[in-house]
Amino acid sequence: MKVSELRDDLGLKVFSGKEGMDRNVSGGYVSDLLSDVMGNSREGQVWITLQTHKNVMAIASLKDLAAVILVKGHQPDEDTLKQSNEEGVPILGTDKPTFEIAGKLYKTLEKHEAF
């Protein structure tokens, strides 16, 4: 399943990193503690968080994550946007809280047998 299909399925906004919309999604990870994401997320996962700091992008790209979804209408910081565009790792957004969007992500990935 591609990031662009995920955007369509979940009705997500695209903030940045459009070049990465073809990236392959192989799972999801939910955490707001960046050290935890650095230690435990896996390549190809979509990361759901409310953190908007530029370190989010550094970690997403280091761990080769498929994309980041910001919840509850949070906007990425300016330097976070910039880094997302440079690295081609999309930042997506939703007004929904983490619980809801994580539930929808799980269902979609399951339906597409993406993990």
Partner: protein, 247 residues
């Protein structure tokens, strides 16, 4: 020049999590008993108790570094210190305005008692002081340095509310005057875990919430005299001033 023993991170009874025994008088007593020369007063998101502690402890020959432990929107704890009373008061109002609008429930979180020299309660801030502000760590750093304050990342070795725990790593372009280690680690251990951070200035403090923890760990400041300027120089390693930690 000589060494001054400094514990730069202590809470008072103003912090909801600070024990009721953490009055200005008791903190001064304990600091003297522990042989400290300098104490830092850093309640959660408030500088309001600093003046009384400075007054009480000052009379007994202690130097009080006045500040607060601010929670950024990433939930990173940072220490901010200022020299002048009007800066402290301005900063206090600035932080309070940016603090989440959640009322304290003393039954659940503890009392937030602003006390006078005789341990009488003057007032209690309405907002819960252990909430987070809506300031990013970059915005906070800019504000503190714009006001000529000192900016220190608190308990960097701790996963919860330490910068490495919250943000994964220390953003290299963020300007800290020092990194603080908690009493749960040592300089040697921290630097062996994070060798790339070894060039920062380090302090180590108790983060005391209970009276017996005051001075549990401390920083040796090698400098001329206990003043804000000299402490600044020690943190910046200027003119032969420096900081030393137990290894």
């Amino acid at each position: 020049m000589r060494h001054f023993k400094a514990d730069l991170h202590t809470h008072t009874v103003l912090s909801p999590c600070g024990d009721l025994e953490m009055s200005p008088q008791n903190i001064a007593d304990k600091a003297i008993e522990k042989g400290l020369d300098i104490i830092g007063i850093t309640d959660h998101n408030s500088t309001m108790q600093c003046a009384t502690v400075k007054n009480v402890a000052g009379k007994r020959g202690l130097f009080v570094l006045c500040g607060a432990e601010v929670t950024t929107k990433e939930e990173v704890h940072c220490l901010a210190f200022f020299e002048a009373p009007d800066q402290l008061s301005y900063f206090n109002d600035f932080i309070y305005e940016h603090l989440a609008d959640v009322k304290n429930d003393p039954e659940k979180f503890g009392y937030q008692a602003l006390v006078d020299e005789n341990e009488m309660i003057i007032s209690q801030p309405e907002k819960l002081l252990i909430s987070a502000t809506d300031l990013s760590i970059e915005e906070l750093e800019e504000k503190v340095h714009e006001m000529n304050g000192l900016f220190i990342a608190a308990h960097v070795d701790r996963i919860s509310n330490g910068i490495i725990g919250q943000l994964g790593f220390i953003p290299p372009d963020l300007n800290f005057d020092a990194l603080e280690l908690s009493k749960f680690t040592t300089f040697q251990k921290f630097v062996s875990d994070y060798p790339q951070q070894k060039n920062y200035t380090f302090i180590q403090s108790s983060d005391a919430h209970f009276i017996n923890d005051v001075g549990a760990v401390y920083t040796q400041l090698y400098m001329e005299e206990p003043t804000f300027q000299e402490i600044t120089k020690a943190l910046k390693k200027q003119d032969g001033r420096k900081t030393e930690l137990k290894l």
